[in-house]
């Protein structure tokens, strides 16, 4: 498996075949003389903007504080939850519980559902 080719930027799918964003980053744990291990997949947000320009990350964090879901830390998924790595990365999690859908749910609740015909997630 090649991390950049096979994992980074791939679509992440949860237990229920729900799209939960893309792998924006990977966290690697380094030890003094131990083999490095990839421990987490990072989703969305600041990690993404860091890849373009480090300054953008600060900007995006500032903007995120103005509106939207208030989230302190970035969303990370432990590598132990990775089921398969293929065309997409399948995870053994439920998207809603990971925080990956925080923005989706916030926009649904505060904007979409307030417009007639938008539907309601409550019905599920």
């Amino acid at each position: 498996m090649h991390l950049i080719r096979d994992v980074l930027d791939k679509q992440l799918i949860d237990r229920e075949d729900c799209k939960m964003g893309r792998a924006s980053g990977l966290i690697m744990q380094l030890g003094e003389n131990t083999q490095p291990r990839v421990t987490h997949i990072v989703i969305g947000g600041p990690a993404l903007w860091m890849r373009i320009r480090p300054g953008l990350r600060k900007l995006s964090t500032k903007l995120a504080h103005l509106w939207g879901p208030k989230r302190k830390e970035p969303v990370t998924i432990p590598w132990s939850r990775v089921k398969t790595v293929g065309k997409d990365v399948n995870l053994d999690v439920e998207a809603k519980e990971t925080g990956a859908l925080d923005w989706e749910l916030w926009i649904a609740r505060h904007i979409i559902e307030r417009i007639p015909g938008g539907g309601s997630k409550e019905e599920e």
């Binding site: 950049i4 930027d9 964003g21 749910l105 926009i107 649904a108 979409i112 559902e113 015909g117």
Partner: protein
């Protein structure tokens, strides 16, 4: 045989590509100024599109990933973001132009000036995306778009000289006014080879749940669909050549373009022209808004589908809502849709390499396409389109200034 009904995806894509305000205006201008001479440009655009659209469909059917998915996954986020910015700016301008086209059509039908129509029209387009399913949009826009066949009727009624038409399918240079000729050739190509068509078709294939069994059907749909659109576009040019050129008329304003129909069909021509523009631009507006929203959703990995309720793909719905409402603003401020059209076509040409070059790599990727990768013919065509796109990119803006 249910697959044949999927032809509607091809038709709606090509109506949105060939008969929207940009293509109709340039085809009419080309006919009015140079007679049949620029038919080859429409033919070239059609051929390029057939291949590009077929590839977009094939990628989606085989890999179950769209072009945008593949672009993010193979080229990474920074590249995707760069293309996103370019694409959104250009597509937004085209969207403004299409809403302008619908508003203009309503202006000539009702006498109420176009800025008043901008907001109601954009709300109607939005409503269709909000409440409608993909099949509804696909089939509805195709069916309504069929009224554009009246252009073909008009062209036939004017009695063209078919041998001249035929010989104009081969490129030639005019005796005079070469800058304007070049500008129109570039505009015709820029108006037909629009990247948003590929993104829309690729996403549409996923919405329609295509799989490998659709590969042959995809070729038929792409071929037939784009030929249909190209043929209609040629009819516009021929009608303009016969109706406007002998009278020395140019197509500087929207109502003047209506003459190409009314000359051939005095009783119904006016209404047919207005309705044709109305439905064609409406289809195009839907396509572009969806293409932009698909681009965001697929690139960032959000859930997306026209068949889902908006609350189930909230970010996707949010994007098309914002885009469509913003697009009404310039029109409400009385910005001239024709000027926006010309600018958007020049910018589409200038940004074409950015959309087509990644395609060359994606269509040869074994991970996505396996044994359905491009053969040498398809690769050669993409290479030629890339060459054309670079030429267009370099000369489109200067030509706009000199010859426009």
């Amino acid at each position: 045989m249910k697959k044949i009904l999927q032809l509607t995806l091809g038709i709606v894509t090509s109506v949105g590509g060939f008969l929207e305000i940009g293509s109709v205006t340039t085809a009419a201008q080309a006919g009015a100024r140079f007679g049949y001479q620029l038919l080859w440009a429409i033919l070239l655009g059609t051929l390029c599109l057939i291949f590009l659209i077929e590839m977009s469909g094939r990628l989606a059917a085989v890999s179950k990933h769209t072009i945008v998915d593949a672009m993010r996954e193979r080229f990474g986020f920074p590249f995707f973001f760069f293309v996103l910015i370019g694409m959104v700016i250009v597509a937004f301008l085209v969207l403004v132009a299409e809403l302008g086209g619908i508003s203009f059509a309503l202006q000539i039908l009702t006498g109420i000036r176009f800025p008043w129509w901008a907001l109601p029209v954009s709300l109607l387009v939005w409503l269709l995306m909000w409440k409608g399913t993909f099949s509804l949009i696909e089939n509805g826009a195709s069916l309504l778009g069929l009224v554009t066949i009246s252009f073909v009727v008009a062209a036939f009624k004017l009695g063209p000289d078919w041998s001249s038409v035929g010989s104009s399918l081969i490129p030639s240079l005019p005796d005079s006014d070469k800058a304007n000729y070049g500008f129109l050739a570039v505009s015709i190509l820029g108006a037909s080879i629009s990247p948003y068509l590929m993104y829309f078709y690729s996403s549409g294939a996923i919405e329609d749940k295509w799989d490998r069994s659709y590969i042959t059907m995809n070729r038929i749909i792409a071929g037939f669909g784009m030929t249909f659109g190209g043929f209609l576009s040629m009819a516009v040019l021929v009608a303009a050549a016969l109706a406007l050129r002998p009278k020395g008329l140019q197509v500087d304003t929207f109502p003047q373009a209506a003459l190409l129909m009314t000359t051939a069909l005095p009783r119904w021509g006016f209404y047919l022209f207005a309705l044709s523009m109305l439905f064609a631009c409406f289809g195009a507006a839907l396509e572009i808004s969806l293409a932009i929203a698909y681009f965001f959703a697929q690139g960032f990995g959000w859930s997306w589908s026209e068949d889902l309720e908006p609350s189930q793909d909230a970010r996707f719905a949010f994007v098309y809502t914002i885009i469509i409402l913003l697009a009404a603003v310039p029109l409400m401020l009385r910005v001239d849709p024709i000027k926006v059209t010309m600018l958007s076509m020049a910018l589409t040409s200038a940004s074409l390499p950015l959309a087509i070059v990644p395609f060359l790599f994606l269509m040869n990727d074994p991970i996505y396409l396996g044994k359905h990768r491009n053969g040498w013919i398809s690769n050669a065509v993409v290479a030629i389109v890339i060459l054309i796109s670079f030429v267009l990119a370099i000369i489109s803006i200067p030509l706009q200034i000199i010859g426009g």
